[in-house]
Symmetry: C2
Subunit: 430 residues, 2 copies
């Protein structure tokens, strides 16, 4: 029998608490879909291309991957449209939790290591049992924790990004920070490309921004967190993060896909890192955009970020300049905020090309637990950065009380200026 019943089975045969389920999209000239599906399950676990003597039945039962579903698209039953046609199908495979440690890299290697290079195959989703997920602390703050730090209960948060991103001195960054805070911005983040640069060294800009935050707080009452960008080797990132926290840092920014999920995870699960961590999606475009290869956006920017402990996850909005289908942004949001065992909910941060006219759509899509994040949409306001922040806050408040932006513009000069400039159009902005 070519189809080992240990490998080919049905989902009911496996204790859902003891397996990680992975869903793949495959296409290609497969004359034998089951063989191809089995190649994933076996090849990613115990198997090699020849029988080896050490593979005992016991070892196989404990460790081999299983194929629990093979679904052709469309679901041909009695004949194929042509013998030579490419076939498209989804495979649901199951991997014993016994095969995994607590490293996210190991998870990815197990479910999508070598097989990621085996032609057109894309990892679409993972279902993790509680036993496995318990190895991860997840977000230390999450949505509720970040709200508590800011004292903001029931409205979307507003975040802005330093623009220009390179070349400003610590003093200039501090001044710009103050303007953003004065405009009602809840979080200010470094640009993700900002390294520990000579013109604005890490500690100097941290100090300048913390002072600006304190001044804004005392003058306006606005609390504003500063997410400083962590760069360098994994060790340097860790040391820098600890130093920043000891100097009073209020948040950290990290390029999760560039530095690796486990670096972020080490950071977020360390007791000394007592501030929220923002996960930036830089380089995510190397993973998800192909419809037939890579790893889905809901995994790399949703579930895996949350497992790694990101308190906020940035991703392209459906309405700006970096394209992502609306459904995909919503699924990322669902991965970040749906009940997921003990893991706190992480804030969805749909980003890039956001201006006040898009606020109603973002709130409609994500509800109140969303961070409205803008760079050019704040700093490019005709009346300046603080006005740019205020225009966003006015847009948020109008939306929450059910007023149209057009209507609210009549009462608010800042919103009116933004509205006149950008309207409610998608795809404008930076």
């Amino acid at each position: 029998m070519p189809y080992d019943p240990t490998v080919f089975t049905i989902r009911e045969s496996l204790d859902p608490g003891e397996f990680i389920f992975a869903l793949y999209y495959l296409e290609g000239a497969a004359s034998d879909l089951l063989r191809k599906a089995g190649g994933i399950a076996i090849g990613q676990t115990t198997g090699t291309w020849v029988p080896v003597s050490q593979e005992t039945p016991e070892l196989r039962r404990t460790h081999v991957g299983r194929v629990v579903g093979v679904y052709e698209i469309p679901a041909y039953e009695d004949r194929l449209p042509s013998e030579s046609a490419e076939r498209r199908f989804l495979v649901q495979a199951a991997f014993p939790v016994a095969n995994f440690d607590d490293q996210l890299a190991a998870l990815l290697v197990m479910v999508f290591g070598k097989v990621s290079m085996a032609g057109r195959i894309k990892l679409l989703d993972l279902t993790l049992p509680e036993k496995y997920a318990r190895r991860f602390a997840g977000p230390k703050f999450g949505i509720e924790g970040v709200r508590e730090l800011l004292g903001v209960e029931r409205r979307p948060l507003l975040m802005s990004i330093f623009k220009p991103c390179l070349g400003l001195s610590p003093k200039q960054l501090g001044d710009l920070f103050f303007e953003q805070a004065r405009g009602g911005v809840d979080l200010v983040k470094d640009d993700e490309i900002l390294p520990d640069i000579e013109s604005a060294p890490f500690e100097a800009r941290l100090e300048a921004c913390l002072q600006a935050a304190a001044r804004a707080k005392s003058e306006t009452g606005q609390r504003t967190l500063y997410a400083i960008n962590l760069t360098g080797s994994p060790d340097a990132i860790f040391a820098k993060a600890q130093r920043a926290v000891s100097l009073g840092a209020t948040a950290l920014l990290i390029n999760v896909l560039a530095v690796g999920f486990d670096v972020v995870r080490a950071l977020t699960s360390d007791a000394s890192i007592k501030v929220p961590v923002l996960a930036h999606p830089a380089m995510a475009g190397a993973f998800y955009p192909s419809p037939v290869q890579g790893i889905s956006s809901e995994l790399v920017l949703g579930k895996l970020v949350r497992l790694a402990g990101g308190d906020l996850s940035l991703f392209p909005s459906a309405y700006g300049t970096v394209p992502l289908l609306r459904e995909r942004t919503l699924r990322i949001g669902q991965q970040l905020t749906s009940p997921f065992y003990h893991l706190r909910r992480a804030f969805p941060v749909p980003s890039a090309g956001i201006h006040p006219g898009l606020v109603p759509r973002l709130i409609d899509d994500f509800g109140l637990d969303v961070v409205i994040n803008a760079g050019g949409g704040v700093h490019g306001h005709p009346q300046g950065t603080a006005a740019g922040g205020r225009a966003f806050r006015q847009a948020i408040e109008a939306t929450l009380v059910g007023r149209s932006l057009e209507d609210a513009s009549r009462d608010h000069a800042e919103l009116r200026a933004a509205y006149e400039l950008w309207g409610t159009r998608a795809g404008v902005g930076e």
Copy 2:
């Protein structure tokens, strides 16, 4: 927020023991995949197209269907190939076990009732929690029980079908039964179209075949079960089955899709029905063949037959005259035989156009736990029915010891005649 987080969630958020998971294929001009997916989950449970006052949050939480996955095919992320292109996707929905009773019709109505008519949508698979599956006794005999009745431990069983199927008298049927049994056939079944007909009334043919079976047993030692076709109203079927058993019947045949899963289930779960039940797939072609509509073959001929308590499930083989893709036949086999809580394994019976030359492929596909089932392949043998049976038994024995049919033909006149006539070709036969 248009996407109610109670409805749109991730699989980890639901206790797998409390939900039935259904996987659908959908295609169409969906501008909003999530809305379409939500329509299934809500529309098949609590929802209607307008809010109704009785739908309390508590009622909703307890009963509403959930969308746990929406996977576009291919997995587009940042753009669609064209705005007007048809979209294809899989939806994984979850339905609370609290919504179900113990009726299989209710299961189908809940997961694929109204929605089956909503355009191009096909139900591909169901995952049932143990709590739900425990409501079903499943096969009373299963593979092991049928083997025990026959005293056959480690070889594929051989089944044959009366041919011609209409017009024979009880005496003629008895004689033909004897020939089949003498040829080494383990089970003889009525043709599924044979009603309780004047020329061969139910009790008369039962008596004739049981006598023939007794004669064959005493003369040759071969035990042969007779699966008599149950027809009539549900009440009549039940009464007839009980009467047959009291008269010594050894098996029952039923057209599961024509009479309904719950009729079969009532029969198989009744203590008085102490014989195996064969489920015939007549009319299954009204359910599974469309790649974009209906219900998959692995459900209607695999999982649901097993739940209903069929001990043997007939389905088209990949090598005969009724088409079904090989992968699909294998998945039916996996649904029938994979571990599935307390439910006994049911025999896969790949059928239609089977001749001895196909035996090696069937054993290669299904292993030893398969029933080789033939009509014309037995009765159309050049040396007659008994020789036809023997040719099959010779083919089975040769395959089990690793001999090619060509080689074994040299030693066995019956196999040789069949091999010369049909070779090992697929798609020949009746």
